[in-house]
Amino acid sequence: MAETGMAGTRIRQRRLVAGLKQAELAEAAGISASYLNLIEHNRRRIGGRTLLQIAAALNVEPATLTEGVQSQLLAALQEAAGDGESGGNFAEAAPELDRVEEFVGRFPGWAGRLADLGQQRDALERTVKALSERLAHDPELSATLHDVISTVTSIRSTASILAETRELEPEWQMRFHRNINEDGARLAEGAEALMRYLEAAPEAGAEVTSPQDEMHAFMERHGFTFPQLEGWGAEARIEAVVSEIEHRAARALARAALTQILEDARALPRDEMDVLLAAHGPAPDAIARATGRSLAQVFRRMATLPEDMVGPVGLIVVDGAGALILRKTVMGFATPRSGAGCGMWPLYEVLSQPARPVQAVLAQGDLRVRALAVAEETVPAGFDNPPLMRAYMLILPERRGPDRATARPVGVTCRICPIEGCLARREGSVLKDRF
């Protein structure tokens, strides 16, 4: 197989490592020194018999002289080198483009990293540009911000008058109080509109999607259900399933999630779950007792079965630090995209009591759901590390019946939660009246 000029650079490197002169290698390989010189300087393509002879003379496998010749890598490096001025602290001279093949040949690791960084920088630049354009030209954002700033201006000015004007006539006083009241309501509306806009932002363009968001979008596209991972030999299918995800970081997250789904499917096969659900209904504790599996595993399995089999089942998973790892929402139960959720969710309660599951009826606005939570150790404690935990909260429809349980009022996350006097509040809310 004829290869690009990269092979010449590799031959030269190998020859120098072997301590051979050009003439010596040429003689051993049965070619002229001038021809070898052209090959080494990548001015002649090499393949077939000549390649085999040179490899034999260098005592290396022919493939080591030709493998890894990556035109994409070269193109990526050339692109990175050609993108304008450096503007940085280190690059004093222009990149030596005429030696890029040599660079790749000698330092493939560094070359790959540099190409990756170049591409990441391009992606970030596109993201920044998209966000800047959005902020500058999005009419919805512009109008909302203008409204908010105008209202703040009015409140500031009016409040100053009320606070600083001595002997303010009662009719003026009344008018300014009324104005502040009106402006307060407008400001709340504007803040709410702004929050809605910002909360929806990651969906507005693929460029601004985090790996977590991208992974969740993938899971949602599949309804968190992967029939292709049921049965033996499913490991080999994971790569094919995640290949639809564009970015590597998101693919890694999805790969880990699918591996877990596969293990759960193996522990609790679909046919068995069918029988158990028919016998017990969506009761994870009964299923856990019947199968000897952990509650956490039953939660995960239930959340990844089709809805026509198990009914609406949501699942929220957090790590020991409380950060959201997975969110499958159902029935309109709202969760934040990232960070921490509502401190009143039983999800956080169980982190401090791993052995004790908790159930509660939750009221999020007008919505009532049944939540079951349990925590599980994922890495046991050692002398050098604390135990690492994960907590799971299963969301199920509220049980029907005459004895309706008292519901615990919960929110989504403090910034957009209107519940006053909440014991778990971490920060103020921008909302007043509703979700």
Partner: protein, 122 residues
């Protein structure tokens, strides 16, 4: 009779607050609440100073200012522009259009008062 300020601003509560503080300071305050016909208001009121919002319904403050400057009798009429936008390019646009001062919202009452007094020395 004090000197006259023409306030061209569409937010009613800002109009009331700014009118109040200027009136208390001895200015005669006239108001106009949209971009359309703003030039007619300037001609009719013949103010000593104009406070002009940038984002107005009907016509932008920049366009109104260009119209003001296009008429010889108002070429040197002091204009204070108000805007929610405070980027360098906004300031540049205001300067190019012929604004004497550019103030970003939210402003304090004292800032407005000081700016107007500075633009029309008694």
């Amino acid at each position: 009779m004090g000197k006259t300020v023409l306030l061209i601003e569409d937010e009613q509560n800002i109009i009331e607050a700014v009118s109040f503080i200027l009136s208390r300071d001895g200015w005669e305050v006239k108001t106009h609440a949209n971009g359309q016909n703003a030039m007619e208001a300037v001609r009719a009121r013949e103010p000593d100073v104009v406070i002009l919002d940038v984002m107005l319904p009907g016509k932008s403050g920049f366009d109104i200012l260009s119209e003001i400057r296009a008429e010889a009798q108002f070429a040197s009429l002091p204009v204070l522009m108000l805007s929610a936008r405070g980027q360098a390019k906004d300031l540049e646009m205001a300067e190019r259009a012929g604004a004497n001062r550019y103030m970003t919202k939210p402003f304090s009452n004292a800032e407005v008062l000081d700016a107007v007094r500075a633009l029309v020395p008694s």
